[in-house]
Symmetry: C2
Subunit: 280 residues, 2 copies
């Protein structure tokens, strides 16, 4: 990492234009559209954008990776946060402004955190729709001499039995569909590439699992109304393989839902520290 | 139907430009990509176009429908034929020239046939890749005073037990994925629209079933090599509903395969008179 130079990188606003087919393709990438109650996410008539579609509008993290000299081959997506200020339109043109919230030096052995915030606003009206925060865990960049703290606080899951769980089956071709929305990293489709970096096979995009967790919550608590999602934060803790069934466990406390995601068949927890805040 | 005016309609060549994502999206629309042996159809590295992708390059039939005064609300896709002269490139720019092969008057009660041939050639090299023939069954256009014969001959299925069958499960959201390749007819996704024209629910695109039959044959006889498919002709005989499993029955006679498709759970034959010719 180029430190302290990374602190002064200031990406130009990124434009994200999307038509109905883009909104639909994203929803299909999350496995939506197989049931009538999810029809509004995959049909241009009365189309509604899924809240997590906002994470594709980030754009700005790549400037920090490239210009900041991050070793992207050893970088993983650590945490994702999303605040929806105003539901996303079904089609639109967004301008996204990104800034560095901080870098954290966890030491040579562990790595570094790079935390980037992006704010997506309607390019015409200027209305702020979504703020996303991505935490990149850069395993090859520890020991750069920066601050050793500055991690964002993680939501604590209640120490009690969960209230409800929802299982969503992914498709063997789930990553192949999801990647058409833009993240073409071969790790998610190329068996040789995946084994070369130590996985038994291609892994599902973390943000696909993230979107599936949101679908699970929307089904269970929101009558599939995307306008009910105000916030969705969590940490990625293990890979998911396409074709696995993802179980989302939820603890409810009023409008605040704590959640975790697991793959029951192999006892792996793949999302931890989940927090979803609902709007009334 | 405007007869004999329809006979002199001469559509301008249609351009069909496709990138890797288009080729991949088409394959995903047929349900491909869930198994390693179909990876070349959904991954841009060593990407191969499925032979039936050529049916999207037709383009020209729409001119005969609109300018020919066909009642498109009562029109159904009757038959599809495809001859591959040279395998489709993974990405490309095609020019398609279409001409009317004939119209047949089946009488006021039954309707009319409109038969259109389209030839797709590489826009740069001029090489002819595919010829498609579509037969539209226009139920609202019979009795226009045209010739009562001129049907293309239908392939006869051997009167003996079939050699092999392959069952491919479709997804509940199969039509939602397939329609992103261009055919946005609401009949394939809108429950209200589908029931208003007498179906219990949205039906799968006929050409999606057609492509799935080709996948079945390629799996069973071609090691999934698209270059082995030289010809694929058949007649649509009943609708398929997304989520059903399509069984393709094959009778082999050297390089000539006869086939039918059926939905075993309800005993419906959905494709008849199928003929697939293999290249060595």
């Amino acid at each position: 990492m180029k430190y302290p130079e990374i602190l002064s990188i200031s990406p130009a606003p990124a434009e994200f234009v999307y038509a109905a087919d883009d909104t639909i393709l994203y929803a299909l990438g999350l496995g939506a559209g197989g049931k009538p109650d999810e029809l509004p996410f995959v049909y241009e008539k009365n189309l509604r954008a899924l809240p997590t579609f906002a994470v594709l509008m980030g754009g700005g993290a790549s400037d920090f990776i490239t210009q900041g000299g991050i070793d992207s081959t050893r970088m993983v997506h650590g945490e994702q946060r999303l605040t929806i200020h105003k539901p996303l339109p079904a089609t639109g043109r967004m301008l996204t402004t990104s800034r560095l919230l901080g870098v954290v030096d966890k030491g040579k052995e562990k790595g570094a955190l790079v935390i980037v915030e992006s704010a997506a606003s309607d390019a015409v009206s200027g209305a702020l729709h979504a703020t996303t925060v991505i935490t990149l865990f850069c395993r090859g960049d520890g020991g750069f001499g920066g601050p050793s703290d500055g991690d964002l606080p993680l939501h604590a899951i209640p120490d009690m039995p969960h209230d409800l769980d929802v299982t969503i089956q992914t498709l063997p071709q789930q990553a192949a569909i999801y990647r058409l929305s833009g993240d073409k990293n071969p790790l998610h489709i190329d068996p040789e590439m995946a084994t070369s970096v130590g996985f038994p096979g291609p892994i599902l995009h973390g943000l696909c699992t993230y979107g599936i967790a949101c679908r699970a919550i929307m089904q269970a608590y929101c009558d599939n109304d995307p306008a009910r999602i105000a916030r969705l934060d969590m940490r990625f803790s293990a890979p998911v393989y396409p074709g696995e069934a993802i179980t989302t466990r939820v603890w409810r406390d009023g409008s605040e839902l704590s959640f975790e995601c697991l793959i029951a068949t192999r006892g792996a927890t793949v999302i931890r520290n989940g927090l979803c805040v609902l709007k009334d």
